[in-house]
């Protein structure tokens, strides 16, 4: 078992080079630059089993145990007990697991936790109910069962960052990645417009 201390000092008994190679240069660069994640080692082998990584979630560094196959969604839900992001579809087609990573909306069930090392991740739990998007959702009653709502709130938050002055037409065109079975769309549209009127991202 690798301890967090070992990981922090780059003394783990394995390498994540194979993983890094497969997961894109940006992640590798962050990790190698001594970012908060796992330090890379010279020798090449495949990671297996449990290992501890550090995720930058809601402005804090969190150590979390993952397997290479652990998705970001599982790491958040089981590792950090941040259960706002929901498991709804096998892929990203419901938008229910949406978080904001590097400023962009991401289906957390479609990325591996290890890919997210060194990237700032924002989850719905970082928001409070008395302002911004969640407040507008409450005010317009834009949740019923509420299971889709955290994903929607994050999708809207990311959308409004890009389109702070969104029109109703843009809202109807731009928020189709999220699914709601209870049918809250008619309440979400005015909620998003309220946030726009209140000054973009509230």
């Amino acid at each position: 078992m690798t301890t967090p201390e070992q990981l922090a000092h780059g003394k783990s008994g394995f390498s994540r080079r194979a993983f890094l190679k497969g997961s894109g240069a940006a992640a590798a660069a962050t990790a190698m630059a001594g970012g908060p994640g796992l330090a890379a080692e010279e020798e090449s082998s495949v990671i297996s089993g449990m290992t501890t990584i550090t995720l930058d979630v809601n402005g804090k560094q969190h150590k979390v145990e993952v397997e290479p196959r652990t998705t970001l969604l599982e790491a958040l839900r089981y590792g950090l007990n941040l259960t706002g992001a929901k498991p709804i579809s096998v892929d990203g087609s419901s938008g229910g697991s949406t978080v904001i990573m590097d400023g962009k909306p991401v289906s957390s069930n479609s990325v591996l936790a290890m890919e997210c090392v060194g990237k700032p991740i924002q989850t719905v739990e970082s928001l409070t109910g008395d302002s911004g998007v969640p407040h507008a959702f409450v005010d317009q009653d834009a949740s019923q069962c509420g299971f889709c709502t955290p994903g929607f709130v994050m999708a809207v938050t990311a959308f409004l960052k890009k389109h702070p002055n969104a029109t109703e037409e843009q809202i109807r065109d731009g928020l189709n990645g999220n699914l709601c079975r209870c049918g809250t769309y008619a309440n979400i549209i005015p909620a998003v417009l309220d946030v726009v009127k209140g000054g973009g991202n509230g």
């Binding site: 892929d91 409450v138 069962c145 008619a186």
Partner: protein
């Protein structure tokens, strides 16, 4: 003597107002915990393995490899060798492990072999079903205004023939509505904690009070050893009333393994097992007089309820508009699919879609305005009291839609390139009487108020409804009431089905609140030296209506309770109650645009006018109607269960493949709650289901009005629209 009534509209402070859901912030910031979200220390993850075949016998099942996967803790079979399996995805085994990854690997390592049996899944093709020996007569009914003279054997046929001959217009049509699933976004399942001979089950359920016993008996416990807990449920729609076999297994596994076990279905198995709504297909012959009033109806419908499930009930054919003469017949088509479950307003959406489309076809055939034909047919509404309500609701809806200005005869509208537009309407009914419910109210000496009910919140805002009722009763703001629901140890409340919850909890919390208030009033009366009957509670004060100088703040009044809280229990009595009633109606009108080249139907505007007796919380009531309209748009235009005819495979059992409307698909929605004093005086009536009934017929009628032909089967996908247009072109 306490009189259990609601205040008049002019006297009500909060009742009927518009309030945010008190649990809205929890839902919108991700802190609301659903069964899926509960992760007790050491929780194990369990996932099920579904049978890949649609009809077979289990020949062999080798779990050894799965058991050997690192991280897998246990593997259990759910079927025995030789068991017959009747639908694809029926659960065969369960793998329990430390992580999702280990469990997934374990599931992939299960080796099973099956002996295939004959598969049949085509519920629409009645001839094929008959040829396959998959049909059964499911009864019917005949009602004729005339009596046979003497012993006239063939009277029924002769009389129907005579009536159709006499009719000014006759339409013979074929109509259908495909099977759909519930698609709860939180799949079915539970997180079970068995400890010291007791079970705590975090179950995703519409039936908190009714499920402990179902968990108890397979565990050889009694219900008092079981607590069912569900603060939030991610969708139910009628499919989550029972402890399912996989929930019982989760409880057993927790007992055997000594650790909490979370067993939620994954999406694919959810759609295959977690509930579907029966399809319906019908041959309908309908006759009308010169005004378009239906005089005679003859229908045969067939429907598939899945293995052991019930078919589309005959009682909804014809629907709401029931002529004096009718004959109906039902055939059950037995397909290899999981048994159906109650789906929001069971039977009604299909009945409406199969019969009010036929009524609209009479209007088309006679060249009449559909509005006029529906209005004239209100004489065929069985409940005379409701005819006037429908007439009023139609007027309001027509105004909101601007029906008269927009109307054109079927198929005769302006064309904008390949785009044509049309209007359609439908109307519906539902019961929605209060279910049994008990409530416990605690008033603390410091003024705090709590309510406890073993109820649940499907998303309708149950907590807020209870808070509004008690706030009204005690003269307090809504946020002053702390509502506790979602635990089976609280006083019993009925399952949330049939739109009975808001009526039920309003009944129990109003009665209990009034009882508690009376006890408090007695203490205040002796303190102030006024008769208790003269006291009122409003704006945070208790005062005498005879002398308003004699008053106490709520807090000071509560301090009279001494050291211990006042605890009062009570229950609802819906029979003969002035607080609740049943029987609602509604009218919906749809405006669509259809592209004749692509077959795409677009919602332009959709109007719903709905009565529900007395409105408790206007905001959440409106949301229910919006949601129901969107769910209606879903089954009218998008969703259906697709099955492969040869293998019986459920082809679209993932969200990416199961088409549902998205935010951009809904057009403009307009909701109007019809609450004149005559309706308000009836008391609270449930609302969750009724507005989901009319959309299928209303939207289909709008498409028929646009195109001038009927696209017979819902959902009206581009393919179905284009097929109908091709058929029309060929026959022209």
């Amino acid at each position: 003597m306490v009189e259990y009534v609601w205040p008049d509209k002019k006297d009500a402070s909060v009742l009927g107002g518009s309030f945010d859901k008190i649990d809205g912030p929890a839902k919108c910031t991700g802190t609301a915990k659903y069964s899926y979200d509960i992760n007790p220390e050491g929780v194990l993850i369990a996932r099920a393995y579904g049978c890949p075949q649609a009809h077979c016998k289990l020949k062999s099942l080798d779990l050894e490899l799965a058991e050997g996967v690192p991280g897998v803790v246990a593997v259990r079979k759910m079927k025995e060798l030789g068991d017959e399996i009747h639908w694809q995805g029926d659960l065969v085994a369960v793998v329990v492990g430390e992580t999702e990854g280990a469990v997934a690997e374990g599931l992939a390592a299960i080796v099973a072999d099956y002996e295939p049996l004959d598969v049949y899944v085509d519920d629409e093709d009645l001839q094929a079903a008959e040829a396959a020996g998959r049909t059964a007569d499911s009864g019917g009914r005949v009602q004729l205004a005339n009596e046979p003279e003497g012993d006239d054997e063939g009277f029924e046929d002769k009389e129907l023939e005579r009536l159709f001959k006499e009719a000014a217009a006759v339409v013979e049509g074929y109509y259908g509505i495909a099977a759909i699933t519930h698609m709860c976004l939180e799949t079915h399942g539970s997180t079970c904690e068995f400890k010291d001979g007791k079970l705590l089950a975090h179950l995703s359920t519409q039936n908190v009070s009714g499920t402990p016993g179902q968990f108890a008996s397979p565990l050889k416990l009694t219900a008092d050893d079981v607590t069912v807990h569900c603060d939030y449920i991610g969708g139910g729609f009628g499919s989550k009333f029972a402890v399912d076999r996989w929930d019982s297994l989760a409880a057993q596994l927790s007992k055997d393994l000594g650790r909490p076990v979370k067993l939620m279905l994954d999406r694919d198995l959810e759609l295959k097992n977690g509930g579907s709504r029966p399809s319906g297909f019908a041959d309908v012959k309908i006759g009308a007089d010169a005004n378009g009033v239906i005089t005679v109806w003859d229908s045969h419908h067939w429907s598939a309820g899945g293995y052991g499930g019930g078919v589309l009930n005959q009682s909804v054919m014809p629907y709401v508009i029931v002529p004096p003469n009718y004959r109906r017949r039902v055939t059950n088509v037995k397909i290899n699919a999981a048994p159906v479950r109650a789906w929001r307003a069971p039977n009604h959406p299909q009945g409406c879609a199969l019969s009010q489309t036929a009524i609209d076809d009479i209007a088309a055939k006679m060249g009449l305005d559909s509005y006029d034909v529906f209005e004239r047919n209100l004489v065929n509404v069985a409940d005379e009291d409701r005819r006037g309500v429908y007439a009023e609701e139609m007027k309001i809806a027509a105004k909101l839609m601007d029906w008269k200005a927009k109307w054109h005869p079927h198929g005769k509208g302006d064309k904008n390139g390949s785009i044509v537009s049309g209007l359609g309407m439908a109307l519906h009914t539902w019961g929605g009487g209060a279910h049994p419910s008990s409530c416990m109210v605690k008033i603390h000496p410091d003024g705090g108020v709590e309510a406890f009910l073993g109820s649940q919140d499907l998303g309708t805002g149950t907590r807020t409804v209870i808070a509004v009722v008690l706030a009204e009763t005690f003269g307090l703001p809504v946020e002053a009431i702390k509502v506790n629901i979602g635990n089976s140890k609280y006083p019993m409340s009925g399952p949330s089905g049939g739109s009975t919850t808001v009526g039920g909890v309003s009944e129990s919390s109003r009665r209990t609140g009034l009882d508690a208030r009376e006890q408090l009033f007695e203490k205040v009366a002796s303190k102030l030296g006024v008769p208790a009957e003269s006291l009122e509670a409003k704006d945070g004060r208790i005062f005498s209506s005879e002398d308003s100088d004699k008053s106490l703040s709520w807090k000071d009044a509560c301090s009279l309770l001494g050291m211990s809280p006042l605890e009062v229990s009570g229950r609802g009595y819906s029979r003969g109650s002035k607080l609740s009633s049943n029987g609602v109606g509604g009218v919906q009108m749809a405006e669509v645009e259809v592209d004749r080249e692509t077959g795409v139907v677009k919602m332009k505007k959709f109007v719903a006018v709905q009565d529900m007796g007395l409105v408790v919380n206007r905001k959440t009531a409106s949301s229910q109607i919006y949601g129901a309209m969107i769910m209606g748009i879903a089954y009218a235009l998008f969703e259906e269960r697709l099955m492969d005819k040869n293998s019986g495979a459920f082809l679209n059992a993932e969200i990416a493949d199961y088409r549902l409307p998205r935010l951009g698909d809904i057009g403009e929605l307009v909701v109007e709650i019809y609450e004149p004093e005559s309706e308000r005086a009836r008391g609270v009536i449930g609302l969750g289901e009724p507005p989901v009934i009319s959309p299928g017929a209303a939207i289909s009628n709008a498409v028929a009005n646009a195109l001038g032909i009927r696209v017979p089967v819902l959902p009206l996908t581009p393919k179905r629209v284009l097929d109908s247009l091709k058929l029309q072109a060929r026959s022209a």
